[in-house]
């Protein structure tokens, strides 16, 4: 039972499993990338599903069951991510003691003769003067940013040199794993800790309560033109208020809530005795505005050909009372109610709060640094043993990637090299 548990523990943290999971995730992403993904905004799903039904016909049901229209929220995708996360976590835990030992323990300089037979990188040569030879080797290694140590065993008459570089780069893989775990956790926690509300259409002067537990209110102004067109946005909370022109790519952040300008377009402002109403005129379809006190419903649409507004007036029963073009700024009387139509502009906003962003960027930056270190700062170790006759053996361990032979030659080795091809 213990052995079985040990094997499972080893397998769950193995890099072989990581390779399998990464490959499977790649295949999953390739598959998911072939299908349109269901929008997350409520109210748009039905229309979207109808369009998908038309496109995929009888296969729609099967594709839906396989979760391919919600691939990144599907059970198989989340299971894959969870598996990869678990594998990375266990691998990190498994490596931690060994890494701690490698980083904290002082190196063993004096190694027995048998040790020099066991390593992949080996070199052998004869030194005329052992002391001078080792000192020259030490100087060469220092030039290559190694940290050499020399010890002498008086009993056997042997001299030893140990040199190491890139000791801390051993931690890079571990740091990259921790960074990757934090990054995935940040992305996973985003829907729970943050929120996003888009398509907030505001007319100039209109006030909107942000909600989501916040007492912020937002009020958009008239669009300003210039090098960077934008819309002034006022955000207030109690007695404090902030106003700034917000443009695409230049949002406004107040009390952790970020306001993005998503777009703008023509709108009509309708002024009646009972109040002011507005409607966006972006599309070709007429927009409906209700005037409850007057018992009227107005259908309005912009007519670009004569820069006028086409208005249909309907009674509360739905009966058409009349229709016609109205010039902007003109006051008309409908069923005894004076109404003025003014052309203005609406702006569309998105309000969002994302407390995970800082963690995501920090962990991604940490991942980047760890990748650079692991790829560019190799951990290399080297031992030299010189016996009392002046015969020297040199062995290397770590990430030499073809550099051992050049190093041995530079130190003065003239014969018996092996183990270069295995990196």
């Amino acid at each position: 039972m213990v052995r079985w548990g040990h094997t499972l523990w080893k397998t769950l943290g193995s890099s072989q499993l990581a390779v399998v999971l990464l490959t499977t995730l790649l295949v999953g992403l390739l598959l998911a990338g072939l299908f349109p993904q269901m929008p997350t905004e409520p109210g748009t799903r039905e229309t979207w599903l109808e369009a998908v039904d038309l496109r995929y016909g009888p296969a729609t049901g099967l594709l839906k069951q396989l979760g391919l229209f919600e691939a990144y929220r599907s059970w198989w995708f989340l299971a894959l991510l969870a598996g990869l996360l678990l594998n990375t976590l266990i691998c990190t835990v498994q490596r931690m003691p060994r890494l701690w030992h490698a980083l904290s323990e002082p190196p063993i300089v004096q190694r027995p003769e048998a040790f020099y037979q066991g390593l992949a990188h080996q070199a052998q040569w004869a030194l005329g003067s052992p002391d001078q030879g080792l000192a020259a080797a030490r100087d060469t290694l220092v030039q290559h940013r190694f940290q050499p140590q020399i010890e002498k065993d008086d009993e056997s008459g042997c001299a030893f040199l140990y040199a190491e570089r890139g000791r801390w780069s051993q931690a890079a893989t571990l740091v990259s794993h921790i960074a990757a775990i934090l990054l995935v956790l940040a992305v996973a926690a985003r829907p729970a800790l943050g929120w996003q509300e888009g398509n907030l259409t505001l007319l100039p002067g209109e006030v909107h309560s942000v909600g989501h537990g916040s007492d912020l209110e937002m009020q958009a102004g008239q669009r300003v033109t210039g090098r960077r067109p934008g819309v002034p946005l006022g955000v207030s909370s109690g007695t404090s208020a902030i106003t700034r022109t917000v443009a695409i790519n230049h949002p406004l952040t107040s009390r952790g809530v970020t306001f993005h300008l998503q777009g703008y377009g023509p709108a009509v402002q309708i002024t009646a005795p009972e109040g002011t109403f507005g409607a966006a005129l972006g599309g070709s379809q007429a927009q409906e505005v209700s005037l409850p006190e007057a018992g009227l419903t107005l259908r309005v649409a912009h007519r670009p050909e004569d820069e006028a507004l086409f208005v249909e007036a309907l009674a509360a029963s739905g009966a058409l009372l009349g229709s016609g073009s109205v010039a902007y700024g003109q006051e008309v009387e409908i069923e005894g109610t004076p109404i003025t139509f003014r052309l203005t502009e609406y702006s569309v906003w998105q309000a969002s709060r994302d407390p995970t962003f800082g963690l995501a960027v920090a962990s991604a930056a940490l991942l980047f640094v760890a990748i650079v270190i692991s790829l560019w700062v190799p951990h290399r170790r080297l031992w030299i043993r010189v016996d009392d006759r002046g015969d020297a053996w040199m062995v290397g361990a770590g990430d030499w990637a073809g550099a051992f032979e050049a190093m041995a030659t530079e130190i003065g080795c003239t014969s018996h090299l092996r183990g270069e091809s295995d990196g």
Binding site: S15, A18, V19, L22, T23, L25, L26, L29, L30, A32, G33, L34, F35, P36, Q37, R55, Y72, V187, Q196, R228, P229, A247, I248, N249, H250, P251, T258, H260, Q350, S352, D354, F357, A360, V361, A364, A365, L367, F368, I371, V372, S374, L375, W376, D399, A401, G402, S421, D422, G423
Partner: protein, 262 residues
């Protein structure tokens, strides 16, 4: 100027294939001319020349030529067959930009508000450099796999050197790709209020990143040395090319949407 730069790359590829040293100079000349062409375009447009498929194809070609030039600074790193393949990739990218894209797509356009950001040169510029280094790695993969009679060079020592270059090219390209993605996530947060949205381009960039993450995991494993790593570098290059060229096609063919299609 762009056609001249492309011709230089093509001639450099030919020269390298024939073992002529003039190939290195032709490649450098092509890179210098292309840099000048992109700089002039940027000055004329009044913004970084990294805003359209045409401009990115040229920046990608420049990144590839630069990567090849950097790795050709040392004599032992000059592997003619690899340099020929890499310069051919750069020439094909220029040819794609100049001859495959419609004229309307090649014209200088005013900067759309969505691209008016300090993150544009950081995100797209590092992506072009990353793609260049990864194209060199893919070229090294292909050079490794080529039989001796095609490459015309001795087998084992060429493969050791090509394998080493492949590894160093990915060691340059993979962190640059990661950096480009980090810049991209910050820009996405600023522009759209979300740093990751499973957009088609984002997904394909993640696929590319995962291919190189896989390489990172297996690069020192004895079983993976040689042929398998060469294939992985080639798959990585295919993924890079699809992320750049194929995502738009996929979106049109399958009817998908992406915020990254300009």
């Amino acid at each position: 100027m762009v056609i001249v730069a492309g011709a230089c790359f093509l001639l450099a590829a030919l020269a390298h294939a024939l073992g002529w040293r003039v190939g290195t100079w032709l490649a450098a000349a092509g890179a210098a001319i292309l840099t000048g062409a992109l700089a002039a375009r940027g000055l004329l447009a009044g913004h970084w020349p990294l805003t359209s498929e045409y401009e990115f194809a040229l920046a990608f070609a420049l990144g590839t030529a630069l990567a090849a030039s950097v790795f050709a600074t040392k004599a032992s790193w000059r592997i003619p067959v690899l340099q020929a393949i890499t310069m051919l990739i750069a020439a094909l990218l220029v040819a794609y930009a100049r001859f495959a894209l419609p004229i309307a797509k090649q014209a200088i356009r005013p900067l759309p508000p969505a691209l008016d950001s300090v993150w544009l040169p950081l995100h797209v510029g590092t992506a072009a450099l990353a793609y260049g280094a990864l194209a060199l790695a893919g070229g090294a993969g292909l050079a490794w796999l080529l039989p001796e009679r095609v490459s015309g060079e001795a087998g084992e020592s060429r493969q050791v050197e090509t394998g080493w270059l492949l590894d160093r090219a990915i060691a340059a390209g993979f962190p640059l790709l990661t950096l480009s993605m980090i810049f991209g996530m910050i820009w996405a947060q600023v522009a759209w209020g979300r740093y990751w949205g499973w957009d088609l381009k984002e997904v394909w960039t993640l696929i590319t990143w995962l291919v190189y993450a896989l390489y990172w995991h297996v690069r020192r494993r004895p079983r993976w040395q040689g042929r398998r790593l060469a294939w992985l570098a080639l798959i990585g290059l295919a993924s890079v090319l699809f992320t750049f060229l194929g995502v738009g096609w996929l979106a049109r063919t399958v009817g998908l949407e992406s915020l990254h299609l300009f």
